[in-house]
């Protein structure tokens, strides 16, 4: 028998704490596959966010640091400046990156720090129980937008992939999803590209994942996938916003 697909080597053999059907696990695996395929396990260092993915350090056979909420890009900068030849990546949620950590991600991006950022947009704060995120859709009900996000009060959802593409220091910015095999395979390419750019010393790369949160959206897993396909993708079009050429 030939192995077609096997659990990535860089992943620990461990049960994750994520809710049933949560896409965080898929994004993890895509990162792992990229690391495996690029053969960089021994020189990759990860920065965990504060969010549901805070436990990511538990699932990878990699050195990891758990940075304060939102500050992963600054922490990553500190590591990368000491070890320019290591591969350093942050994995951040939309509360972490787009709310409290806005200044840090923008400045790291603008500096063109040679980093890779995996950004999980699940339109809410998963870990703390489903509050509004900067990426929450208009009209979406969350525990802190109980009447639905109102453009007058809270403004429009943030488009991170587009925003990032404005900065000259950013060499790659893409938005992907993981709701079916096709999108997952496309995501995989994006993640790999984002790591390869770093290996080639090109600068800052970011991949935004449209991700689900069945638990806090109050949906079944299937419903959550439909929400991504029908609602999120409309607000947040998939695609490569920068660095897709070649």
């Amino acid at each position: 028998m030939k192995t077609i697909y096997a659990r990535p080597v860089v992943m620990e053999d461990k049960l994750t704490h994520y809710c049933s059907g949560c896409h965080h696990g898929i994004s993890h695996r895509l990162v792992a596959e990229a690391i495996d395929e690029l053969g960089i396990q021994g020189r990759t260092i990860g920065i965990a966010p504060i969010g549901c993915a805070v436990f990511i350090y538990d699932y990878f056979k990699l050195d990891f640091i758990v940075a304060p909420h939102g500050r992963a890009p600054a922490t990553a900068t500190g590591i990368k400046r000491v070890f320019p030849d290591r591969v350093v990546f942050t994995y951040q949620g939309d509360g972490d990156l787009a709310s409290i950590g806005m200044a840090e991600i923008i400045h790291a991006a603008n500096r063109g720090e040679n980093l890779t950022t995996i950004f999980i947009n699940n339109a809410n704060y998963g870990m703390t129980g489903g509050q509004m995120a900067p990426t929450t859709l208009l009209g979406q009900h969350t525990t802190t937008s109980p009447y639905g996000r109102d453009v007058k009060r809270e403004g429009h959802p943030f488009h991170i992939a587009e925003l990032m593409s404005n900065f000259k220091g950013v060499v790659y910015s893409a938005r992907v999803a993981t709701y079916d095999p096709k999108t997952i395979l496309a995501s995989k390419k994006a993640v790999k590209k984002a790591f390869m750019n770093q290996l080639e010393g090109k600068g800052f790369s970011i991949v935004e994942f449209l991700s689900n949160c069945p638990t806090n959206w109050g949906m079944s897993v299937v419903e959550s996938i439909n929400f991504i396909k029908e609602k999120m993708v409309v607000e947040f079009p998939l695609g490569v916003y920068k660095g897709g050429e070649e």
Binding site: R43, K61, G78
Partner: protein, 355 residues
């Protein structure tokens, strides 16, 4: 002996850090310590290091966290409001047991306050500006020479105890120039080995840097382990200077700039045969309670002099209890007491006691 050089405090601290093997500096401008990042921006590239101006104090302390986790000797400097923005990070660094050196060149507060010298961040530095049960070693240098020496020591102790070390100075010390003899530059290859550093998990188990443990029983254990370390520091690292204490019947306690100004006051008083002495804490945490306790029997009263509305005075009271009166003379808001002011306060309080 090396050459004596005239150095501004805030530049001396930078050069001393470089001598101690510090090659990474992340910081954000704020008066009265701008010359430190400025100096570093010039010097670090010359020695193969990296200077990066963080986009804020918040970012800077988190960059420090990254560099420290990577095993480097790293430093940041700031002044009062900037330190406030760092306390979340400092709590993390302490919990993660990551070594680093942070200088707070204090200025008048609260809020924006002003840029004049002050000592009103004593509580913040010694009792935990951040959340949770953590402690930082806090030095209170009083001369540029001492600032240099303590900077080097700060890096060593930070590594030894895997703990942040705070240099708590003020704008006066920062802005003054004094001759110093710089220490020999350490060879980077002689710096302590850091097997815990995040270097990429090549051929070893992975290393994790985090201040995080969901299970209370385990987090409690971590806390007790930290406390044990703090107890060891208390046992081994308390430092202070005594000045005319031998036969003193009246002790002034003051640190940093007010400490050295008090020295002049003590000298003047001694010339008048007034039996005063000075205890100048060098480590503000761990605080030198012991020497004060020892002095109680021989002393009629204590006076604490601070460039604040009264913070260290609490620690002196903790040591002295009600056994002796503890007077206080403070100048908050950026004022610097003169030796004359202090002499007068001593005489005033002595007269209260029928000295």
């Amino acid at each position: 002996m090396s050459e004596r050089i005239l150095f501004k405090g805030v530049e001396a601290v930078a050069e001393a850090a470089i001598k101690a093997g510090c090659r990474y500096f992340f910081g954000y401008p704020i008066t009265p310590q701008n010359e430190t990042p400025e100096y570093m921006s010039k010097r670090l590239p010359q020695v193969g290091g990296v200077f990066l101006q963080g986009e804020s104090e918040t970012a800077s302390i988190n960059m420090v966290m990254g560099a420290s986790a990577a095993g480097a000797r790293v430093m940041t400097t700031t002044s009062s409001p900037g330190f406030s923005l760092m306390v979340e990070g400092i709590s993390y660094l302490s919990g993660m047991e990551l070594p680093c050196v942070i200088a707070n060149i204090m200025r008048g507060g609260p809020g924006l306050g002003n840029i004049a010298p002050a000592q009103s961040d004593y509580f913040q530095a010694t009792k935990g500006g951040g959340h949770g049960d953590y402690r930082n070693i806090v030095f209170g240098p009083s001369t540029v020479k001492e600032l240099v020496d303590l900077t080097v020591l700060a890096f060593d102790l930070a590594d030894k105890y895997r703990n942040p070390v705070v240099l708590l100075a003020d704008g006066a010390l920062g802005q003054m120039m004094e001759p110093v003899v710089l220490p020999e530059e350490v060879k980077l290859e002689n710096l302590p080995n850091k097997p815990w550093a995040l270097t990429g998990a090549l051929g070893r188990e992975k290393n994790l840097a985090m201040a995080f443990e969901m299970v209370p029983e385990k987090l409690e254990e971590i806390n007790w382990r930290l406390q044990k370390k703090y107890d060891q520091i208390i046992k081994e690292e308390v430092r202070w200077e005594e000045y005319y204490t031998d036969d003193a019947e009246y002790i002034i306690v003051a640190f940093g700039t007010s400490g050295r100004i008090t020295k002049s006051a003590v000298k003047a008083l001694r010339e008048e045969k007034v039996p005063v002495g000075l205890v100048r804490p060098i480590t503000l945490w761990p605080f030198p309670y012991g020497i004060l306790v020892e002095l109680v029997p021989q002393v009629e009263a204590f006076l604490v002099v601070e460039m604040s509305a009264g913070q260290m005075v609490e620690d002196v009271r903790l040591a002295v209890g009600d056994r002796r009166p503890v007077f206080f003379y403070g100048r908050p808001g950026g004022m610097v007491p003169t030796p004359k002011d202090i002499v007068q306060k001593v005489k005033e309080t002595m007269s209260l006691l029928d000295f």
